[in-house]
Symmetry: C2
Subunit: 326 residues, 2 copies
């Protein structure tokens, strides 16, 4: 019987569940909106129910375990969530223990940026490499790092909160409460906000002129149509990301930087600017480091959390047959 | 016979050599000014001669190896120095191979920040910890990282060039050629330059009023005597370092941050401000991370490079008796 792992990508807006084989292929996948305000009991039920439905439709597989990616920072060593800003009621909540109660398979827990990095490392853009920095540029900025062929976890498994390095002293307010973080400048949210602000009264753009709210995607579409402001906004975003990535390249010395998250859908528009910035400002020994797009798209975290289950499984460990679950 | 390792801390101004036992104790130590302009042949002779003199004075020890810390970024995997800004002629120079030719013991090579981090981890302030960030604040800013009980080396062993994360877009010129790096603001050089600039025409200070050039030490002395500008300069330095360290804490999730380098001689003056900044701006899960002073002082790199030799030595590996050397 072939082995599969369950991957869960628990986010503030969607909870995704997948059955993933040891080649990283998604055998089955389901998602639904996270009942983020309903409290942990309800969210755990969602995870359990999604998993049950996936497994019910899958025959003759051996489940090696379940990996769960959660918004951080969460202490994945103790498994206790102190506070998850995007999910109500996860205050001092023993997430790992509560998950383990509900499943007969071993549960692995990972901060979401690290889980996505593992997905890209094991099955995506970083396959076969020893060193990579994964950066998700989305509502916020998060990440995960593989160095010397090993996942960097740090104290309590909370490493790679790379959105919260300071890039501007006393700068823009960041959702974390601090000012001037990389996230406060480089995130999709910050990019969209800049577009909305700068479009007001700007003669060189059609952005926002039809009265509807500007979204990140609009800026990229307008730029392709030659809109001057839109092109400038994209250049600026590339510079902000390029500057941040250059710092991360000096800090981690990765083989590549993998960019994921919503903004990476427009990777082609951003990549030349980002790469030019790195080429210009990285120290000579680091200039050749390439930025590549996440190969698994929005599934980096889902596949990565399943990969956790495979990685956690030792050859001598028991596997759990579906029979044990039903 | 007890085992010793040879540690070499090759710097742009001094080359230090030490015999270190497996407890991290410096059994013997010598140093001399680096003949930085004389080319690699001469510098290698200095290393060889210092080592020979140390070993000649030491009886009945088994040398397990020699560890060499060099200014970076240097590719410690290939062992080839592309360019060492502070040492002339090390262009495409096969440093490791040339060192190995001169010694009968196995040679280990490490970027200086990483070597110092290893010293503090194995024998200093980070003893017994799994996760630490070491930061040297001196002429420049460098560092090294231990995560999950392992040294973070990255591609070509060049990780942890933490002085070159951007902290101010298009900011002050950094010795690396980029603008706005952490080093360009937080280093001892930057601190001294700020003091000299700000003292000019300032009524609230005695700094520089006697006509002699201001050095970093003078600022700390003046601050202890109540000098208003000196106190402000130290507060600002603590804020710059605190902001940078907060970023590193989010990036690596260390158990502690270890501060070394020349400026750490005045650690007591800086620590309260640095720690207050971290307490204020780190995300809740990271607020409790402490900054401590390097325990080995200027010997972090020397002891760390020797520790490399012990770490590199496998139980099954041969040891090299002094007889083999002489």
């Amino acid at each position: 019987m072939h082995q599969i792992a369950i991957g869960i990508d628990l986010g503030g807006t969607q909870v995704r569940a997948g059955l993933i084989d040891k080649h990283g292929t998604i055998v089955a996948r389901m998602e639904e909106p996270t009942e983020a305000q309903a409290g942990p009991e309800r969210v755990l039920s969602q995870i359990h129910s999604l998993t049950e439905r996936l497994l019910a439709a899958t025959k003759s597989s051996v489940v090696v375990g379940i990996g769960v990616s959660t918004p951080g920072p969460i202490d994945t060593v103790s498994g206790i969530a102190k506070d998850i800003p995007t999910l109500s009621g996860f205050a001092d909540f023993p997430l790992k223990a509560e998950l383990q109660k509900r499943f007969a398979f071993p549960v692995s827990l990972e901060n979401d940026g690290i889980a996505a990095a593992i997905g890209e490392w094991q099955f995506g853009a970083g396959r076969g490499l020893e060193n990579l920095v994964y950066v998700t540029v989305s509502t916020g900025i998060g990440g995960g790092v593989v160095a010397d062929g090993r996942v960097v976890r740090g104290r309590k498994g909370m490493a790679a909160h790379i959105g919260h390095m300071s890039v501007e002293p006393n700068g823009a307010l960041c959702p974390c409460g601090n000012h001037g973080c990389f996230e406060a400048y480089g995130s999709g949210t910050a990019f969209t906000l800049r577009a909305r602000t700068r479009a007001i009264g700007c003669e060189e753009t059609t952005l926002g002129k039809n009265g509807s709210e500007i979204h990140a995607r609009d800026v990229f579409v307008s730029a392709r149509n030659g809109d001057a402001l839109a092109k400038r906004l994209i250049d600026e975003e590339a510079e902000i990301l390029g500057r941040g990535f250059t710092g991360l390249i000096h800090i981690f010395s990765p083989d590549i930087v993998v960019m994921g998250g919503g903004i990476s859908h427009e990777f082609e528009s951003l990549q030349p600017g980002i790469q030019a910035y790195i080429g210009q400002w990285a120290m000579p020994a680091f200039k050749d480091v390439k930025v590549v797009r996440a190969a698994l798209g929005q599934n980096s975290g889902l596949v990565g959390s399943a990969a956790l289950a495979f990685l956690a499984k030792r050859p001598e460990a028991d596997t759990f047959a579906l029979a044990a679950y039903n």
